[in-house]
C-alpha cells in the first residue's frame, strides 16, 4: 500500500463542482480516497493551482503516420534533442518528437491521458507498440473507419446493425477506443487519386455518400454503447468556403445520448473557412460556433493553429496532396488497403501569410464564441495546428484580451478585415480552462466514469499542480505568468506517483491502454460471418487470423466493456 497526501492544493475540479477551494487530496494505491494514514508521504502544494491530469482528446503521437513524420524529417529531429539523463531517455524532435519526447513534454505540462487521433486498423499493432514506449500517459486510439469497405457496403444496404457489428469486431480486434471518420468517403476516393468535396458526393464504386457514412456510424456507435461518440474530421478540410460543409454535417447529427455528445468534431478551425479561394479566405467561426451553440449533441475541439514550424499529418490523404502542391516541400502518403489513407507534409505558419493569420484567429474565435466550454475543447490537432508544447500560449491568449491584442498587432495588417477576433472581449477563466483541458475531455471521451478528468473520491490519482496561485494572478494582465505556469508543473502525479517534478521526469512509468469492447450477440459476430470472412481473405493481404492485435501489445489493459443493443 502506498499513500500520498497532497496538502494545500487550490483545486479546480469542474466535474465535482469544485472551483478554487484550497483542500487536501488523499491518495492510496493510485486512487483518490477520503483519507490516508499518518504514514502517508506528504507534498505541500503551497496553494498552487491543482487540476485533474490533463487529457488530450485529439493528438497525433503514436503510430504509422506519426512515425513516418519522424522518419522523413531528420531536420525536425535535430531541432529538439535532449541527452540521456537520470531515468530519462534521450529525446529528439520538435514538431514530431520521439515517443519519450512526447511523453516527457506532455508530462511536464501536467498531461496524464492522451488519445491518438487516427489509427488505421491494419497497422494498429504499430500504434500499440509506440504506446508502450509512451510511459507517462494512459493512451487511447481513435480507429479509422472512413474508407472501410465492409462498413461502406453495410451503409449502402442501410444496415446500421451490420455496420455496428463491423465496428465492434474491428475495435475489439485492434484494441481501439473509438470510431474515427477522417474525410469519410474521401479517403477511399483517394485510392484513385480523387476526393469528395462534401457530404453529398458519392464515393466512387461504393455509391454511398459521406453523409450516409456519418449518419449510419453515429447510430451504430450508440447501438454499441461505446464510451465516446463518433469522432469526425469533416470533409473538405482546409478549403476556403468549407464552413458550409461543416455546418451541413452538424445538421445531420441527431441527439442520441443524454450523457455526452453524439458527435465530436475535431480541429474545427480547419473547417470554418469562408471565401472562395485563398485570395478571399475569411473567418466563418461565427456561424460554425452558432451552430454548435444550438446543438448540445455536438462537441468540437479548436484545432488551434500557432505560428511557426510544424508538421501536418492526417488520414486525410487527398488534403495533404493538395497542401503539398501549395507548399512544394516534401510529401508522404500512405494508403491502407480497404480502410483509409494518410499524408504528411512539413509546414511553416507565418505571420506574413494572411491565410495563416486568418487561421490563427479562427481557432481562438471558436473558443471565444462557443458559449459553453464543455462544447469546445483545447487542442491543436498536434502537431497539425502546432506542437502541443504551444498549449500554454493558447491558454494565455484565451484568458487575456491584452495578449491577443498584442499578438494581433504583429500579424498581417489585413487580418482584421477577414476576422472578428479583435472585436471579441471575452476572457476565459481558470474554470473554463480546466474544462477545456481535462474535465470536458473526460466527459466527451466518456472516461470520467473510469476515474479520469476529476479529483473526486474514486478518481484515478492523475493530478497536475501548476506553480501559480490563482488568487494572486490576474490572467488578463499577467498572461506571461500563466503561460509559464502551464508550461511546467511543480508536480505531475500519475496514478498516485509523482512522475514529473519541475519539468524533470523522475520515474520510468508504465502506461495503460484504454480501449472499448462492445459485446454483440453471436449472430453479429463478424468473425463468423461468412460474407465478411470471405471478402477479408480475398482482398486483404494479411490473413484474418493474423489481423487482431495480440494481448502481448497491451501490457496494461484498460478495457471499457459495454453491451451492444442490436
Amino acid at each position: 500500500m502506498t499513500e500520498l497526501l497532497l496538502r494545500n492544493a487550490c483545486v479546480i475540479d469542474p466535474l465535482n463542482r469544485v472551483n478554487g477551494d484550497v483542500m487536501d487530496i488523499a491518495i492510496r494505491d493510485g486512487w483518490i480516497v477520503e483519507s490516508v494514514g499518518n504514514g502517508a508521504e506528504v507534498i505541500d502544494a503551497r496553494g498552487f493551482l491543482t487540476l485533474p491530469g490533463g487529457i488530450d482528446s485529439h493528438t497525433h503521437i503514436c503510430g504509422t503516420k506519426v512515425n513516418f513524420g519522424r522518419y522523413m524529417m531528420p531536420e525536425d529531429m535535430r531541432a529538439g534533442r535532449t541527452i540521456r539523463k537520470g531515468v530519462m531517455h534521450a529525446t529528439s524532435g520538435y514538431s514530431v518528437p520521439t515517443t519519450y519526447g512526447n511523453s516527457y513534454r506532455y508530462s511536464a505540462m501536467g498531461y496524464t491521458s492522451i488519445l491518438e487521433g487516427a489509427m488505421a486498423p491494419l497497422e494498429a499493432r504499430h500504434t500499440h507498440e509506440e504506446f508502450s514506449a509512451t510511459p507517462l500517459q494512459d493512451t487511447m486510439a481513435n480507429t479509422l473507419f472512413d474508407g472501410n469497405w465492409p462498413v461502406m457496403e453495410a451503409v449502402k444496404e442501410k444496415d446500421v446493425k451490420r455496420a455496428a457489428a463491423i465496428v465492434a469486431w474491428t475495435l475489439a480486434a485492434v484494441k481501439g477506443f473509438a470510431v474515427k471518420l477522417t474525410n469519410p468517403g474521401g479517403t477511399e476516393a483517394w485510392g484513385w487519386g480523387k476526393n469528395v468535396t462534401c457530404i453529398r458526393d458519392p464515393v466512387p464504386h461504393f455509391e454511398v455518400t459521406p453523409a450516409e457514412i456519418i449518419e449510419t456510424l453515429i447510430r451504430a456507435n450508440e447501438l454499441l454503447r461505446l464510451p465516446h461518440s463518433v469522432h469526425l474530421h469533416c470533409n473538405n478540410l482546409g478549403a476556403p468556403g468549407n464552413y458550409q460543409c461543416t455546418i451541413g454535417t452538424f445538421d445531420l447529427v441527431p441527439d442520441l445520448n443524454k450523457e455526452r455528445q453524439s458527435l465530436y468534431a475535431t480541429h474545427v478551425q480547419f473547417h470554418a473557412y469562408g471565401g472562395t479561394s485563398w485570395k478571399d479566405i475569411n473567418s466563418k467561426a461565427e456561424p460554425v460556433a452558432y451552430s454548435v451553440n444550438r446543438k448540445p449533441q455536438i462537441v468540437i475541439d479548436m484545432g488551434q493553429m500557432m505560428f511557426g514550424k510544424t508538421t501536418t499529418m492526417t488520414a486525410d490523404g487527398p488534403m495533404e496532396w493538395n497542401l503539398y502542391r501549395l507548399h512544394h516541400n516534401k510529401w508522404s502518403n500512405h494508403d491502407v488497403e480497404l480502410e483509409t489513407t494518410s499524408g504528411i507534409i512539413p509546414v511553416y505558419y507565418s505571420k506574413k501569410s494572411l491565410v495563416n493569420c486568418v487561421m490563427w484567429a479562427i481557432g481562438l474565435e471558436l473558443a471565444l464564441l462557443v458559449k459553453d466550454p464543455w462544447q469546445c475543447l483545447l487542442a491543436t490537432d498536434n502537431p497539425n495546428g502546432a506542437p502541443f508544447v504551444r498549449y500554454p500560449e493558447i491558454i494565455g491568449l484565451l484568458m487575456s484580451k491584452r495578449y491577443r491584442d498584442e499578438e494581433f498587432r504583429t500579424i498581417h495588417p489585413d487580418t482584421g478585415k477577414r476576422v472578428i477576433l479583435d472585436t471579441l472581449d471575452r476572457e476565459l477563466g481558470w474554470h473554463d480552462i480546466a474544462v477545456m483541458t481535462r474535465a470536458g475531455q473526460a466527459k466527451a471521451l466518456g472516461i470520467a466514469k473510469i476515474g479520469k478528468g476529476h479529483l473526486g473520491v474514486g478518481a484515478e490519482a492523475d493530478i497536475a499542480v501548476y506553480p501559480i496561485r490563482i488568487r494572486d494572478t490576474d490572467p488578463s494582465r499577467d498572461y506571461a505568468a500563466v503561460v509559464s505556469a502551464f508550461q511546467r508543473t511543480a508536480w505531475t502525479i500519475k496514478r498516485g506517483r509523482v512522475v514529473c517534478r519541475d519539468g524533470d521526469v523522475v520515474v520510468e512509468g508504465t502506461n495503460r491502454t484504454i480501449w472499448a469492447n462492445s459485446r454483440v450477440p453471436e449472430a453479429f459476430d463478424m468473425g463468423r460471418d461468412p460474407e465478411f470472412v470471405k471478402k477479408f481473405d480475398r482482398y486483404y493481404t494479411v490473413r484474418m487470423a493474423n489481423y487482431p492485435v495480440q494481448d502481448a501489445y497491451i501490457p496494461r489493459s484498460g478495457c471499457i466493456e459495454s453491451e451492444a443493443v442490436l
Binding site: 520521439t98 515517443t99 507534409i345
Partner: protein, 435 residues
C-alpha cells in the same frame, strides 16, 4: 500437427499464409512458402550454446559468463558499434537501441547496405506509399525498377501484383501492364510487357528524362538516354499517365548503383509528378525479414531510422559517417556487438578486417562468417520459428511472427534484456526520488 497462417521469417514480404507441419518439435513440411522461405524453416546448423575461441579451440561458456563478457566489453569501449537486427523482432531491436543509448555507442542495421539510400531519399522528398493490398486490389500498371522479384521476393508477383486478382481487377494477369527496368534481362524482365534495358548507372538520367516527359517537356530529350530510346521513354510516359493506379517498386539496382539515394529521389519525384495525372505509389522492395521493423522502432526511440550515434548522450544521425561500413572501414570502433546478421559475409573485405582487431560478440542462432571474428557467440532462437515477435512488412504493416517450435534457445530479446539490465545496474540507473 498442421499450423495454419504461419508467418514466413525469410524476406520482408512476410507472407503470413504458410501451412507448416510440425512433428516431434521439427518442421516436416512447409506449404505455400517459396523456396527461400521453405529452406529457412528447415535449416539446421544451430550452435548448441555460447562459445568462445581459445588457443586450444572453441570452448563452451555459460549464459551468465557470456552475458557478463558482453556487458564488460560494451561498458569498457570508447566507441562501440552495435550492428545487425534484420532477422530479429522489434522487441529485440528496441533493446539493442536502448543498449546503445546507455553505453554511448553507435547502432546501425543492415538497412545501411540495403534500403538506407531509400531512406535518405525519403528524407529529402517524402514517400508516396501504400500497403501492398492497395496494389493488389487496384494497380493496372506495375513497374519493377532495379529489382528482380522472381529471385529475391519470389511470391511478390503472385501475392501482390502480376498474378494476384483484386477487388477492381478480376483478371489481373490480363488487365495489368508490367514494366521492368534493369541493366540485364532478368527472370522478372522475361515476364514483363515492357522491358526497359538501361545502361549501367543510367537510372538517374532515365528517371530525369521520364520526369521531364511526364511534365510535357519532351523537346530537349535526346534520341537515347543511357541506352533507352526516346520513343520508348515517350511510350512509357504515356502508359504511366494513363494508368488508373500505378505502383512503382524498386530494389538495390537503384540503391546500390552510382548516385545511390539520388536515384531513388528521382524515382519518388517521378511518382509525385505522375500523381498530378493519376494515382501512383512507390514501395521499396526491402529484403530481410524485419529490416523495416528496425527502421520503425529506431525512429520512435531515437528520431532516426538507422545509423544513430549516441556517443554524446543524444542521438546523432549521419549516414556516411555513422553507418557501419564507414565506421569499420575507418577503424573507428573499438568493440562490436553483432545481432541477427552476418556482416563478415556481407561487408566489403576491408570493413571486415577491422572486426579481427577488436572484441566482437555475436548473438545469432547459427555459425556464420562473422563467427570467425567472434570473441564470443551466443546462440538464440530464430524469430518466427522458435521465438515470437513483431516484424514489419516492406510496406509498413506490422505482423506478429509466431513461435512454432521450442528448441530450448532463449529469444534474442531475453539475452538483450539481461545485457541491458546488467548495464543499467552497473551504471546505477535508478528512479530518482522527487523532493
Amino acid at each position: 500437427m498442421l499450423l495454419k497462417d504461419v508467418v514466413c521469417p525469410y524476406c520482408a514480404c512476410l507472407c503470413d499464409d504458410l501451412d507448416v507441419t510440425v512433428e516431434g518439435n521439427r518442421v516436416t513440411g512447409v506449404d505455400n512458402a517459396c523456396d527461400l522461405g521453405a529452406h529457412k524453416f528447415q535449416a539446421g546448423n544451430r550452435l548448441p550454446g555460447p562459445v568462445r575461441p581459445t588457443e586450444k579451440g572453441w570452448d563452451r561458456v555459460s549464459r551468465e559468463e557470456a552475458i557478463g563478457f558482453t556487458v564488460d566489453m560494451l561498458l569498457s569501449a570508447d566507441r562501440p558499434l552495435i550492428y545487425g537486427w534484420s532477422t530479429t523482432s522489434v522487441e529485440a531491436q528496441s533493446l539493442g537501441i536502448h543498449i546503445a543509448e546507455e553505453i554511448g555507442g553507435v547502432v546501425d542495421a543492415t538497412t545501411s547496405v540495403c534500403h538506407g539510400p531509400s531512406i535518405l531519399a525519403i528524407q529529402e522528398v517524402g514517400h508516396p506509399g501504400c500497403t501492398l493490398g492497395q496494389v493488389k486490389n487496384r494497380a493496372d500498371v506495375v513497374i519493377y525498377w532495379g529489382c528482380n522479384p522472381i529471385e529475391a521476393h519470389p511470391r511478390h508477383l503472385s501475392r501482390y501484383t502480376m498474378y494476384s486478382d483484386g477487388f477492381f481487377l478480376e483478371n489481373a494477369f490480363k488487365e495489368r501492364t508490367l514494366i521492368v527496368a534493369d541493366i540485364r534481362p532478368t527472370e522478372s524482365a522475361n515476364v514483363a510487357d515492357e522491358f526497359v534495358h538501361l545502361k549501367r548507372g543510367g537510372d538517374y538520367a532515365v528517371l530525369s528524362a521520364l520526369r521531364a516527359i511526364v511534365r510535357g517537356k519532351t523537346g530537349s530529350i535526346p534520341s537515347h538516354v543511357a541506352g533507352v530510346s526516346r520513343a520508348q521513354l515517350l511510350r512509357i510516359g504515356e502508359v504511366c499517365k494513363n494508368a488508373k493506379y500505378g505502383a512503382f517498386f524498386f530494389g538495390m539496382g537503384l540503391t546500390q548503383t552510382v548516385g545511390k539515394y539520388k536515384n531513388i529521389r528521382n524515382a519518388i519525384e517521378l511518382v509525385d509528378e505522375l500523381n498530378r495525372h493519376t494515382k501512383w505509389t512507390l514501395t521499396p522492395m526491402r529484403g530481410h525479414f524485419n529490416v523495416y521493423g528496425f527502421n520503425e522502432v529506431c525512429t520512435w526511440v531515437t528520431g532516426y531510422p538507422y545509423a544513430v550515434d549516441f556517443s554524446r548522450g543524444m542521438a546523432f544521425y549521419n549516414p556516411g559517417e555513422t553507418t557501419a561500413v564507414d565506421i569499420l572501414a575507418r577503424k573507428e570502433c573499438d568493440a562490436c556487438l553483432v545481432v541477427a546478421s552476418d556482416p563478415a559475409a556481407h561487408f566489403p573485405r576491408a570493413a571486415v578486417e577491422h572486426l579481427a582487431e577488436i572484441p566482437v560478440v555475436q548473438i545469432d542462432p547459427v555459425v556464420n562468417a562473422t563467427t570467425a571474428f567472434c570473441d564470443l557467440q551466443i546462440p538464440v532462437a530464430v524469430t518466427g520459428i522458435d521465438a515470437e515477435g513483431t516484424a514489419y512488412r516492406m510496406d509498413g504493416v506490422p505482423i506478429r511472427a509466431k513461435k512454432i517450435l521450442d528448441l530450448g534457445y532463449p529469444a534474442d530479446s531475453e539475452i538483450l534484456r539481461e545485457v541491458y539490465q546488467q548495464i543499467r545496474d552497473r551504471k546505477k540507473v535508478r528512479e530518482v526520488k522527487p523532493v
